[in-house]
């Protein structure tokens, strides 16, 4: 017996909210907009909770067929939803964290114009994200995949009158398009070889293939192409460049879309496709290498950033790198575990950063902060929890998940592990740098006045200003506290239990107690080292940014060019601009615009119009308006006709 769970309601509820707010919200009062948005996202969360409560009684995976969508020949794609342990966790994260961020946004966005628009987009995002997570085939997943990209674009460019926000939105969309290209080709390959995009059909088709042959490179190709898509959505090298710019959006958006949920879609997709990746070891290696490199690369950039949200953005990229590293060493449950804890603490970090920005009147530059600990104690304490969680101190959530990833990576290769531990050290360093610069020392900014940030427009994103440093309203603090608690206890479930819960999805071999005991010794050693790395990061940050604030300047000037490169994000944006953007613009402008559009298409039309004009102009003189000349033309015409008749007659 499979009870009807009405899974379809989970995504449709936020869609209704988006439709109501988006279509008629303009006429609503702010209170009405808020109640619609919170009601529908909250209802989705409640529904997910009820599903979770009944989950143990279900036979998984639970498939809910809604309607046939496309049927062409033997190919069929349905509106059908797929619930298993993996999608349940994603559902809980998306709706839970999403609902909290909805609540937070009420306080954060209260003063903004386009309030209804913001909540309509936010609900729309929830709809697409839930579609992505719940879909039972790659095609519906792709719909959600594109939809969250759309919502992300709309929300990054929420302040669309600002040029930088509008172009950041475009950048995110276009870079994602590169990834989606890979994803689409992977889908075409799947259709070609398996005749279906349903997860179950595809995975059944894949299962008999052995890892050695991997369908003669087919699975490797599909895996790599899927990874291209995942790299775009989840901001991995080489497609990560859009995520830092995406910080132009409102801070709750950064928290929800660009930290907690959407960017983890790539991880979810790789984990969902684990059947394919398991049989394509070389693709898996690429995933691991990309993840590891991204983790390290983004962490080093994060060290030198001064914009509080940019630090968090690079930190997000780096943490996503950890998740891909975990997937790359086939420790999918560790990756998903980190995805979950990361959603808690990184969502919290962004929300707390938003609260800080709110407090100091729209300032985002950490160099103009400092000493905020006394002024905004709630924000300080919740942010402290998140910072310790991301740095990987026990017993916070990040410790458990990161430790599990590092341990599993070490079993595959010590190189992954070494880079991972070094990245953990860097993570701890830049997060505590942020922590010390923001909350300790003396306040270095000017007293925030009503609209007193005209002097630094580049950073004055969030147009808040009430005068004086002040704590955020309770509606913003409540989600912070909830997430802080989750950041603390979220990891206590333990990676082993988490893995056991997910084992039906990943078919992981259950570790026997004896083997576990044997591993225990070495695991303790690895744990000790990673905790030591985190503590070292804390100590150095304390030394540099609290004890002796003049040191970083000296070190920076000592490093010279390297420091410059890090500050400028290794010039990757400039490299891409020179490599892709400028040639594209030059080609479009010289060949397509000047060469083809103007000289061929326009010229054809223009010249035929000119020709017609000139011929008409010569005929125009016949119509002089002089009646007698008309009569003359008639007579001349008649004469010609007569002459012709005579000539015909005499022939």
């Amino acid at each position: 017996m499979t009870p009807n769970l009405h899974l379809w309601l989970i995504p449709v509820l936020p869609l209704l909210g988006a439709a109501i707010n988006g279509l008629v919200g303009k006429k609503f009062s702010r209170q009405a907009v808020v109640s619609v948005a919170l009601l529908f996202s909250g209802a989705a969360f409640a529904l997910v909770l009820s599903v979770a409560a009944r989950f143990s009684t279900l036979s998984t995976p639970h498939l809910e067929f809604l309607a046939t969508w496309i049927r062409a020949g033997s190919f069929q794609a349905d509106f059908a939803f797929y619930l298993d342990q993996l999608s349940l966790i994603m559902l809980l994260v998306v709706t839970g964290v999403g609902f909290l961020i909805h609540i937070y946004s009420v306080g954060y966005m209260w003063e903004e114009a386009g309030f209804y628009r913001f909540f309509a987009y936010l609900n729309l995002f929830m709809f697409f994200m839930l579609t992505l997570v719940l879909s039972s085939n790659y095609l519906l997943m792709f719909v959600g995949w594109e939809g969250v990209g759309l919502a992300s674009y709309l929300l990054i460019g929420f302040w669309f009158t600002k040029d930088s926000a509008a172009s950041a939105g475009k950048k995110a969309f276009i870079v994602n398009r590169v990834g989606d290209f890979g994803f689409l080709i992977a889908l075409f390959l799947l259709i070609k070889h398996f005749g279906s995009l349903n997860f179950e059909t595809v995975f059944q088709g894949v299962s008999p293939m052995s890892p050695e042959t991997g369908g003669a490179g087919l699975l490797t190709a599909i895996g790599l192409l899927l990874m291209v898509g995942a790299a775009g959505k989840s901001a991995q090298i080489p497609l990560y460049v859009w995520l830092p710019d995406a910080m132009e959006g409102p801070t709750p958006v950064s928290a929800l879309i660009h930290a907690a949920t959407m960017v983890t879609a790539g991880v979810y997709m790789v984990a969902r496709s684990h059947v394919i990746f398991d049989r394509a070891p070389s693709a898996l290696t690429v995933v691991a290498i990309i993840g590891t490199l991204t983790a390290l690369f983004a962490a080093t950039i994060g060290i030198a950033q001064t914009d509080i949200k940019k630090v968090l953005a690079y930190s997000t990229i780096s943490q996503l790198g950890y998740m891909f590293m975990a997937c790359g060493v086939a420790a999918y449950s560790a990756g998903v575990f980190h995805l979950m804890t990361h959603a808690f603490f990184k969502g919290l970090l962004f929300l707390a950063a938003g609260s800080v920005i709110h407090a100091v009147g729209g300032e985002q530059d950490m160099r103009r902060m400092g000493g905020l600990k006394e002024h905004i104690p709630w924000t300080f304490w919740t942010m402290t929890a998140a910072t310790f969680a991301i740095a990987g101190f026990p017993p916070f959530a990040g410790f458990f998940s990161k430790d599990e990833i590092l341990f599993r990576a070490a079993q595959v290769s010590l190189v992954y592990w070494g880079i991972g531990v070094f990245t953990a050290f860097l993570t701890s360093f830049y997060m505590f740098r942020l922590w010390f610069m923001t909350f300790f020392g003396t306040y270095r900014g000017t007293e925030p006045a009503g609209e007193g940030h005209g002097g630094h427009d580049a950073h004055g994103h969030d147009e808040h200003g009430h005068g004086g440093i002040h704590e955020s309203p309770k509606v913003m603090l409540a989600p912070l506290v909830v997430l802080a608690v989750l950041s603390l206890v979220g990891g206590w479930v333990g990676s082993a239990r988490f893995e056991k819960f997910l084992s039906p999805v990943f078919n992981a071999a259950v570790v026997t107690p004896a083997a576990e005991a044997a591993e225990h010794g070495s695991e303790m050693l690895f744990t000790g080292i990673s905790v030591f790395a985190a503590a070292l990061g804390l100590y150095l940050a304390w030394l540099f940014y609290y004890r002796r604030p003049e040191l970083p300047q000296q070190i920076a000037s000592g490093l010279g060019g390297l420091y410059e490169a890090v500050v400028h994000k290794y010039y990757v944006d400039e490299l891409y601009a020179n490599l892709f953007v400028k040639p594209l613009i030059a080609g479009s402008s010289l060949i397509l615009w000047h060469g083809i559009d103007r000289d061929v298409i326009d010229a054809t039309l223009d010249n035929s119009a000119h020709g017609a004009n000139e011929v008409s102009d010569s005929f125009r003189h016949m119509q002089s308006g002089n009646l007698r000349s008309y009569a003359g033309w008639v007579a001349a015409g008649a004469a010609v006709v007569i002459a012709y008749m005579i000539w015909m007659g005499t022939r």
Partner: protein, 100 residues
């Protein structure tokens, strides 16, 4: 008997005179008379052919043309008088209110 070509040549000359007068004259009355000349040139060819082929239809046509020409003369002269009263001129080049 006079051959038909003589009548036809005379008819053509009359018609050509009418056309020429119509084109070069500026006085409305002269133009009007040129029109009558053209009509009569045509009438001449009608009756010439009627006599040649012993067919009555040509002569009947001539009567029609004459009737229409008479009616036209009545209407046309009325218009000419009206034009002269309002414009105090009979020069067609100056009767150009409809021109741009």
């Amino acid at each position: 008997m006079v051959p038909i070509s003589y009548y036809l040549i005379l008819s053509g000359i009359l018609f050509a005179c009418g056309v020429t007068g119509f084109l070069i004259k500026r006085n409305i009355i002269s133009i009007f008379m040129s029109i009558e000349l053209m009509l009569n040139g045509v009438n001449l060819s009608f009756v010439a052919f009627a006599a040649q082929w012993h067919a009555l239809s040509g002569q009947i046509f001539v009567f029609f043309v004459m009737v229409v020409a008479a009616a036209e003369a009545a209407v046309g002269l009325a218009i000419i008088i009206s034009v002269y009263r309002t414009r105090e001129t009979l020069n067609v080049d100056q009767v150009d209110l409809l021109k741009l």
